[in-house]
Symmetry: C2
DNA sequence: AGGGATGGTGATAACTTGGTCACCATGGGT
DNA sequence: ACCCATGGTGACCAAGTTATCACCATCCCT
């Protein structure tokens, strides 16, 4: 979305989305007008034109229900995270994959490819995708995606008072001890799932990836 | 689908499916007629009525593009497999989940919930879902879903001549040796992926499940 | 004070689409 | 030889739908 949508336009877009999810077909202008409590289909028409201008939808001219949503489908897969860059920065996105966010709870927001074996004993292996729910709140014992300085890491979290521990699931790796009054610990999200592609083998882990 | 579709009806259905995938909206009758090289929209109309009778689609009356596909979405999750019953028998299906078959290669056909830790060192844990591609052909070294007698099991396959081995990934479990001239080994499919729901914990593995 | 984007009413013309009728051809089953 | 389901052509109307006109109100910005 190049230009930000107004509140009303976002409402129209959300209505289109839910209509599509419920009925399996895009709404017509009269249908949209009825749902939104608008008397004239022309108001809808102009809203749709605004959404086209702002790149949110496409309209097929002279075609009934010719509305196409232009959102990117699927979840972004995050590979190596450039130092200091926000997790979802374009440079970190390796692609989008058709994973249904509602398959996991809480809702999945993105995928994070793991490198290394520090969570091996939790069944998280090199190259696996962690399914991440974006949140800054995590509870003790949850597997979190954390940012410590410039590094992004996946570990089990344990907090007691001002002391925090990031605990690997592999005796070969060391627990990371943090003093919250001195060190910065940012929670990027919590791991809600794992996806492994067993036949993806060929390119065996090229490039630095987020260390688990 | 209660009644089997004719070849032509299946073709119509496939056309609707691909039109929907490409444009995001169901086709109108004239559009279908044009794609299929049919001159009269009435032929389409009668085909659609046939598809409704056979339970393949629903039609919203007096609504443009009011075609709804009635296929079950997502992949079936197979839990415990009743002795001797085919893998996909209704009694074995615990539900359907929105997993995109094309996310894995070769294409995913169903999900199989694993019980036990016999594949622990491959990062396959108790309760994980194995993503399975249905095939009777497997190559050496692949993780297969195999039926030995009445048991369904997930193991790594190794065949040499008439001898076969089903190898667990956990030293606490034993390799299963088979003589193909005496024992029956049916390959149900190969594992192409793993999905783990980290927050699904609550019901800790109730009921017998397919042993890995 | 004026201009422009946004959000809306009401009406109309033109086109798209669904529903239906009459009629025809083919193949399988009785 | 007959019936019947399937598959198709051609034509028509009613309803659904898109597109466009004139006109109005509010808010923000210069």
């Amino acid at each position: 979305m190049e230009t930000p949508l107004t509140a009303r336009q976002a409402e129209i877009l959300a209505t289109i989305r839910s209509f599509l999810a419920e009925t399996g077909r895009p709404p017509s202008r009269p249908e949209l007008a009825k749902i939104l409590g608008i008397a004239s289909t022309n108001a809808i028409h102009k809203h749709l034109e605004a959404l086209v201008r702002k790149g949110a939808i496409e309209l097929e001219p002279h075609v009934a229900r010719g509305i196409r949503l232009l959102e990117e489908a699927g979840l972004p897969l995050i590979g190596r995270v450039a130092a200091g860059s926000p997790m979802l920065a374009i440079e970190n996105v390796m692609g989008r994959y058709p994973v249904d966010p509602s398959l996991f709870t809480p809702r999945a927001d993105y995928l994070l490819q793991v490198s290394g074996l520090s969570m091996r004993d939790e069944g998280i292996l090199d190259g696996d995708w962690i399914v991440v729910h974006r949140t800054s709140e995590a509870r003790n014992g949850q597997i979190v995606v954390a940012r410590v300085g410039n590094d992004v890491t996946v570990k089990r979290l344990k907090v007691r008072g001002s002391k925090a521990e990031l605990i690997p699931a592999n005796p070969d790796f060391q627990v990371l001890h943090l003093d919250l009054e001195r060190d910065t610990l940012e929670i990027e999200g919590i791991a809600v799932g794992v996806i492994r592609n067993l036949m993806a083998g060929p390119p065996p882990s090229r490039g630095r990836r987020v260390s688990a």
